[in-house]
């Protein structure tokens, strides 16, 4: 594999605990890593990324909700005053029903903001799959990609096998724009 296209090594683990231990060890050594798996492992994530990108999703959701609630009140009050129809003897600007609409739009815009921020932080949609990704990572194996220089590849291969990996691949950069899985 050409050295200028080499990006790192990827290991496949069958056992989740071994994978977790290897992931922590790789992170502790200061390498850039990416971990794959078929389940959302909250424990791993919480320990790996204590101040991770997950927090801004909450903030954006809150901001979206505040925005939705605000425009709901603005919309209902302005439209009611613009067409001041007296119905059932209720005031033109009746806050009880307007609160209900405000609630619904708060939830709606909070959901939009939540979804939007998730897609942004997860960098989705993504047209290509990462070179390190393997289909078995969606089924029953756990993957660990460690970015390293070509001269470190052998060291990481040996280390990951010792830590319980079943397979280790050398990963090269993939041309952009292809949706197919990498072949090697």
């Amino acid at each position: 594999m050409p050295a200028d296209r080499f990006v790192g090594v990827c290991a496949s683990f069958e056992d989740q605990k071994l994978w977790r231990a290897a992931t922590f060890a790789a992170q502790a050594s200061g390498q850039a890593i990416e971990a794959y798996g078929p389940v959302a492992d909250e424990q791993t994530m919480r320990l790996l990324r204590p101040h991770s990108t997950q927090n801004p999703v909450r903030l954006w959701t809150l901001l979206g909700g505040i925005f939705g609630g605000t425009i709901a009140f603005c919309m209902t009050i302005w439209m009611s005053r613009n067409w001041p129809l007296v119905v059932g003897g209720k005031p033109i600007v009746s806050w009880p029903p307007f609160i209900c609409i405000c609630f619904e739009m708060t939830v709606l815009y909070a959901s939009f903001a939540c979804m939007g921020s998730f897609l942004a932080y997860a960098r989705l949609p993504h047209l290509t799959l990462p070179a390190a990704y393997r289909p078995e990572f969606a089924v029953d194996h756990f993957g660990l990609f460690v970015a390293c220089a070509p001269i470190e590849a052998e060291h990481w291969q040996r280390q990951l096998i010792e830590q319980g990996a079943q397979w280790v691949w050398l990963i090269e950069n993939q041309p952009r724009g292809r949706l197919a899985l990498p072949t090697f």
């Binding site: 909250e42 424990q43 009880p96």
Partner: protein
């Protein structure tokens, strides 16, 4: 560790016991003074505090029943701490008797009951039924506590059926109490949802109280490894959720009454929302019972820290206590001045002291953790993944 926990008994500090005796004394003295100076005020405050504290005590058992029925493994370490509140219920039966004697003060229509509501509000049926409800619930709760304390396999099988009986009995019978001791105070008033609202108020208060008791005993007995932050968080979340539900039930009533604006059922709402001093008390109740607990309870961190969780739970309990007073006074207090909540607080001290002493008496005689319950043992070793 299992052996230590199996033998552990909960004893309060001498200061705590002394404090409860002081509170009881304050309550008794206040009652004596009021009985000589303002008879009506005494019974309004007595009724409000009786309902509030008895509701909290009852919900100790209901909390245990509900968490058992839901197979909530996380709740087992708190089970005995909550259940022991049932120790106050036999006393509540006795404390209902003075209310029966003060019937003419509480039910101002006593000498001329509304004809359309007979026989439900007939004298004997009303008093007999309410006394029977308090006595029946107390007996059922004490029985549940006894079976739980026995805790062997046979007891576990009994509890698997008993929890259903407790929950059903609480919901239906506490509905009747709410109708008789809140709605019936004002003879022209009826409300389709008040029973539901009433038992949810006390369930919400019970959840908040269990959080506070868990925090206090965790500190007193150094049990942070058993009553973990996760457990506090879980109960805190339940409290948060039912705070929202309580506010929802209030809103459900408000919208229907506001829209229809019918003479028959708008009177209480107009008093509460537009007339002084009720509107002020209403806003205080909503702020303490819902807005502040909701705002603070949104934070995951705050629900996990004992001090902040206790603060949130205390706000909720204070709001619910004021709402209890509000629902009694709005029907009965017809003087132009602000109803003196200070006397109610002093009477409340008496109830708090009396019920607290009963609670401690029971808790001293049982083990803190139901170690014969296999789910308790699982809860000590197995901690599932959390969101």
């Amino acid at each position: 560790m299992d052996e230590t926990l199996a033998q552990l008994r909960a004893t309060a500090t001498p200061h705590a016991r002394a404090l409860l005796w002081v509170l009881l004394t304050i309550g008794v003295v206040t009652a004596a003074v009021l009985s000589l100076t303002d008879h009506a005020r005494l019974w309004y405050d007595y009724l409000a505090n009786f309902l509030f504290f008895t509701g909290l005590a009852q919900n100790g058992i209901v909390w245990s029943a509900v968490t058992r029925g839901c197979n909530a493994r996380w709740a087992r370490p708190l089970q005995r701490i909550a259940e022991s509140l049932a120790g106050a219920l036999p006393l509540s039966v006795l404390l209902f008797i003075p209310l029966m004697l003060a019937r003419r003060t509480i039910w101002t229509w006593w000498s001329a009951p509304p004809q359309r509501k007979l026989p439900w509000l007939s004298h004997g049926f009303l008093l007999g039924r309410d006394f029977a409800i308090f006595a029946g619930l107390a007996a059922l709760s004490v029985y549940y506590l006894r079976v739980s304390v026995v805790g062997d396999e046979r007891a576990q099988r009994k509890l698997a059926r008993l929890w259903v009986v407790v929950v059903f009995a609480y919901c239906y019978l506490w509905t009747i109490i709410g109708l008789d001791l809140n709605v019936a105070l004002y003879p022209g008033w009826y409300d389709y949802i008040y029973g539901w609202y009433f038992f949810i108020v006390h369930w919400y208060g019970g959840l908040a109280l269990v959080s506070i008791l868990a925090i206090l005993w965790r500190r007193r007995l150094a049990l942070a490894h058993v009553i973990t932050d996760d457990i506090l968080h879980d109960n805190g979340e339940l409290t948060f959720a039912f705070g929202i539900f309580w506010a929802y039930l209030f809103w459900a009533q408000f919208m229907v009454l506001w829209y229809a604006n019918r003479q028959d059922d708008i009177t209480i709402l107009i008093r509460l929302s537009q007339q002084h001093p009720w509107v002020t008390l209403s806003w205080i109740t909503l702020a303490l019972g819902f807005f502040l607990p909701f705002g603070f309870g949104l934070s995951r961190v705050w629900k996990r820290r004992p001090a902040t969780l206790a603060y949130i739970a205390s706000l909720a309990l204070t709001g619910l206590w004021i709402s209890e007073n509000l629902m009694v006074d709005v029907s009965l207090w017809h003087r132009p001045s602000f109803p003196p909540l200070i006397t109610s607080a002093l009477i409340g001290c008496g109830f708090c002291g009396a019920y607290g002493l009963c609670y401690l008496w029971v808790l001293r005689r049982v083990t803190v953790f139901p170690m014969r319950d296999p789910v308790m043992l699982e809860a000590l070793v197995w901690h599932p993944a959390r969101h």
